[in-house]
């Protein structure tokens, strides 16, 4: 009796995690803000990246204390960023065309691209040399876009990218392959 009780207590004693504890959130933010920012600019464009960035890290902050200390923090925060980007793309498709997008105003290019409800093949804004590539990335079908960004910008493994997207690893690989094929048709270095 006494023995079985002490055994049970042993089993209930958590595996020693005293050495591993979550870093202060600020340090987590310092470590990952640049890659999350790049990921979001690539995914939703510079004008919407800010909102997605705030949403991503506020959500991360709220969930942070419940996270196991040995979690892969980078994959975790990129998964949240991926979800926020998906939300932004969905919201953009639902948004009606603005009645007066002022031609030639500094934001006109973004405004048009952002609110274009049509098929995803409209011309991308190309203010900068690489704007064309990222315009093309933004217009990929959602899963292909996510596969490219999580793999190359997020530097996640195929398995981690698949987990973030919520598909099989095989499907993530296939999406990545399709995406590269499509990008090579439009992109010239």
């Amino acid at each position: 009796m006494a023995i079985s009780r002490s055994r049970r207590r042993d089993r209930l004693t958590p595996v020693s995690t005293a050495a591993v504890s979550l870093p202060p959130f600020q340090r987590f933010l310092d470590a990952h803000r640049a890659e999350v920012w790049r990921f979001l600019v690539a995914s939703v464009g510079p004008s919407e990246a800010d909102d997605c960035f705030q949403e991503t890290f506020i959500a991360a902050l709220r969930a942070y204390p419940r996270l196991p200390a040995d979690s892969n923090l980078r994959a975790w925060v990129l998964t949240i960023a991926h979800h926020k980007a998906v939300d932004a793309h969905r919201a953009r498709r639902r948004r009606p065309l603005p009645s007066e997008a002022v031609e030639g105003s500094p934001d006109a290019g973004h405004a048009t691209a952002r609110s274009n409800p049509g098929p995803p093949h409209a011309a991308a804004p190309a203010e900068l040399p690489d704007g064309e590539l990222w315009g093309a990335v933004r217009e990929l079908p959602p899963r292909q876009r996510a596969a490219v960004l999580l793999r190359y910008l997020g530097d996640l493994s195929h398995a981690e990218a698949a987990a973030a997207i919520g598909c099989s690893e095989e499907a993530a690989r296939r999406s990545l392959h399709e995406a590269l094929k499509r990008l090579r048709e439009v992109w010239r270095p």
Partner: protein, 205 residues
């Protein structure tokens, strides 16, 4: 063909140049928002002082920590993350009031702090010791024995010394005003140099 692919992969890894570097601004906006919306449990700031860099940390209840940072802020932040909450963010604007009062204190204009304090990092005994300590007037001093007696444990002057040494909010709770009965300086969490400096400041030297 394959070199094409490699160039493409390289460009994808490099990421967009648009908005490069804006992540710093976005992160500091995030910190303000996190405090405003109550998503962060601790806001902190680093400030310069005549005694070196200080870390100030506040919760919704008030100032919870003031630390000298001879080894940089990280050991302090890690301890706060472990003992209070890992939802800890650098939001200097949230600590403007304690910063202002400290600046006034260091320039000799302020003799008493008017700040809400969060005492959660003090044991019940330390709370008694430190509240006795908080009542020692500016420019005067008490002894470990006297503080222990007033805190209700006349024989616990060693324990009182430990509680003073672990004071989570030095300067504001003036543990530097507690000395040895013989007139010696005693100890100080921030080092005796700083204790001496504070006592001289308060004597108007």
């Amino acid at each position: 063909m394959t070199s094409d692919l490699r160039d493409l992969e390289r460009a994808l890894r490099r990421g967009p140049t648009q908005g490069a570097g804006d992540d710093r601004r976005a992160a500091s906006e995030l910190a303000q928002r996190a405090v405003r919306e109550g998503a962060a449990d601790i806001a902190y700031a680093m400030i310069d002082s005549p005694l070196g860099a200080l870390l100030l940390a506040g919760t919704r209840r008030g100032l919870v920590k003031l630390a000298y940072t001879p080894q940089g802020p990280d050991p302090v932040l890690q301890a706060l993350a472990r003992r209070v909450s890992p939802r800890l963010i650098e939001a200097p604007g949230s600590l403007d009031e304690p910063r202002r009062q400290l600046e006034q204190y260091f320039s000799g204009e302020r003799h008493e702090f008017e700040l809400a304090l969060d005492r959660r990092l003090m044991s019940p005994f330390a709370r008694r010791v430190l509240s006795v300590t908080a009542a020692i007037p500016y420019g005067s001093a008490s002894t470990y024995l006297d503080v222990a007696r007033r805190a209700g444990s006349p024989r616990g002057y060693r324990a009182a010394g430990n509680a003073l040494g672990a004071n989570p909010i030095p300067i504001v709770i003036p543990c530097h005003r507690v000395l040895h009965r013989t007139g010696g300086l005693g100890g100080y969490g921030g080092g005796l140099e700083r204790k001496r400096w504070l006592l001289e400041l308060e004597r108007g030297e």
